[in-house]
Each structure stands twice: as structure tokens, then as C-alpha cells.
Symmetry: C2
Subunit: 185 residues, 2 copies
């Protein structure tokens, strides 16, 4: 994952940046169903073939843009306590992912299946939780199983967001975290 | 959900049946990206406007067809033991949902967001688990929380299928069920 986080320079990176910018700008004024590769290419100032060569098709491009939004931009908040760190993470995660934009990003990533966007996306989540775990160890806390945190805290939140059967309210998210650490005890 | 299970008769049901049949038949020989509403309409012997009126657009239709596949067709297997019933359910569920067809159905349902397909889909899962819970009570077993089974057994399996970061192997699924019932104790 670490290499994923490094912003690479050069021409290829500039093309990616322009194309991503174009997609984000277009999505502000249009419904995604109206987007086409030639439209994106024109507003990014590249040829459609550049986009097809690099992303394959529109759904892969939209997934790539969505993953870029998922990329953690800063170190997770340090509350000084392992359980509160995980709580702070899931509360923010649930709020972002259950927003209209968040749901759309999840749909784009999942809909692109097999393109690697899905694995990258949960790689970011894993990386984030791994940071919290390592930080806990440094503090002399017991640490926690990142895999369990994914299964018993992240997965239920994502399930309810994707299947729209309940809102991942803050109290619900906190209860998931409490149970994760009860189980760990 | 119960009403959902009842096959409704009449003309409207026959149209739905023909259109679903047409979609399933077309998907056997073509990639879904090739499907169009006029194509489905022609092979179902209805007008495109019938499909637009009833389903709105192709993605809603594909989601509706996917949900129909999700609909439980028989009573869940009765192993005589609550935990083994849940285990039998999740093993079959994980196997079906992680198949190419299952992943595609999940993507269609999630991709159609807001159209009600998502809620129907997890409604079937809930109904299935509710049946297992009621059956356990009849046996004089303690029963289990259906909500917990969704959060701590179904959700992790779905998460890993959708984000493709790990296969929901039988041993993994069994461990989730074991932990659900340990927690309940």
C-alpha cells in the first residue's frame, strides 16, 4: 500500500491529474449517466484514446477517481486512546461513506469489480486501522486485530450503507467498536 | 417481506416473467454491457416503453432480475441445531454470492441504489435468518439476534466478496458463526 500513497510525478501523473479534475468538475454539473469518455477527454485536453489506453473504460476511470477520494490525506486523529481512535475513525468513515457522494464512490468502486479499485479501497481502510494499531502498541496498549476491526466494525457499516436497510448512526457505530474491544478483552 | 414472497398472478406478472426470462436468456450469450432496453423488449415481445414505464431504466431492470434470483425458493435446511442451521445458511450464501453470477447480481443490486432492490435483497436474508431463529425457539433453543447475525456473519462475508480482498472460505465462515454464538452465550 505504501507505494500507492506516494504521489508520483512526471507527465503520466499530470495526465491523471487533469483527467481526474475533469471528471470531478463534470460530476459537479452533470449526472454521471451523462458522462462519456470523449466528454471527459475534451475537458481534460487529452484524446479519448489516452483515456481508453490508461483506464480501459469509463467505469474503470470513475472507480479510479473514487479510489483517489478514498486515499487517506492525513494521519488519523490521535485521541490518546486506542478505542477512541477506532471510534473516531469509524464515525468519520460512516459519515463520509453514507453521504450521497460516498455512496456513489462505493458504487463506482464495487461496480468496476476486478479492476483493482476494490482491493485498493479496502487497502486504505486496512492501512488506516494498522496505523491506529501500531500507535496503540507504541502507547503500551494491547493493540487490536485489524482483521477483526474490518470484519466487525467496518463491514457492518458498509453493509448497511450499500443495502440501505439502516443508517449507520453514531450510536450504532460506537456500539460496534465497544463490542470489538469487549471481545478482544 | 412475506407479501414479496407471494407470486402474483395476472397480466402484469406475465409481462414481468417474460422480461425477466428475456434478460436471463440474453445474459447467457452476451455481456451485460451489450444489453439495451430495446433488445430486451424485442426478445420479450413487449414495447420498450413497457419496460421504461415499469422499471425506469436498464440498471433498475437488471437489479430487479438479480433480486428475483435472490428470492429464497425453499425453506432453509433444518439441521436440527441452531448454530448448524446458521452455518449451513452462510456457507451456501457465501458460495453463491462469491460466484461470478453472484458477484454480478450483487453489483447490479447495489449499483441500482435507491430503487428498493437493495432493501429487498437484505430483506430476504433477514427473512431467512428470522426463520432459523423461530425454528430454534420452537426447538426450545435460546434463539439468536438476527441483527447480530447480519452484522457479524453476513456483513463480513459480503464485504470481502465486494471488495475482493479475501475469499470467504468455508473455514472463515464457520469461524464467524462460532464467534456469533460465543458472543451470545
Amino acid at each position: 500500500m505504501a507505494r500507492e500513497m506516494i504521489r508520483q510525478g512526471g507527465r503520466s501523473a499530470r495526465i491523471q491529474e487533469e483527467v481526474h479534475k475533469a471528471v470531478n468538475a463534470l460530476l459537479k454539473t452533470r449526472d454521471r449517466s451523462e458522462l462519456t469518455v470523449p466528454m471527459v477527454a475534451e475537458s481534460a485536453g487529452v484524446t479519448p484514446s489516452t483515456i481508453y489506453r490508461r483506464w480501459g473504460d469509463l467505469s474503470q476511470l470513475l472507480a479510479d477517481v473514487a479510489v483517489a477520494h478514498m486515499r487517506p490525506i492525513s494521519e488519523p486523529e490521535d485521541t490518546g486512546d486506542m478505542q477512541r481512535d477506532v471510534e473516531a475513525f469509524i464515525l468519520q468513515y460512516a459519515e463520509e461513506m453514507s453521504s450521497k457522494v460516498g455512496r456513489q464512490m462505493l458504487t463506482d468502486i464495487i461496480g468496476s469489480g476486478g479492476g483493482g479499485a476494490t482491493v485498493k479501497c479496502c487497502g486504505f481502510t486496512q492501512l488506516h486501522l494498522e496505523t491506529l494499531h501500531q500507535r496503540a502498541l507504541k502507547r503500551g496498549e494491547a493493540g487490536f486485530s485489524v482483521a477483526d476491526a474490518v470484519d466487525f466494525v467496518v463491514a457492518p457499516v458498509i453493509y448497511h450503507i450499500l443495502f440501505e436497510d439502516r443508517e449507520p448512526e453514531p450510536d450504532y457505530c460506537r456500539a460496534l467498536v465497544t463490542r470489538l474491544f469487549q471481545r478482544a478483552d
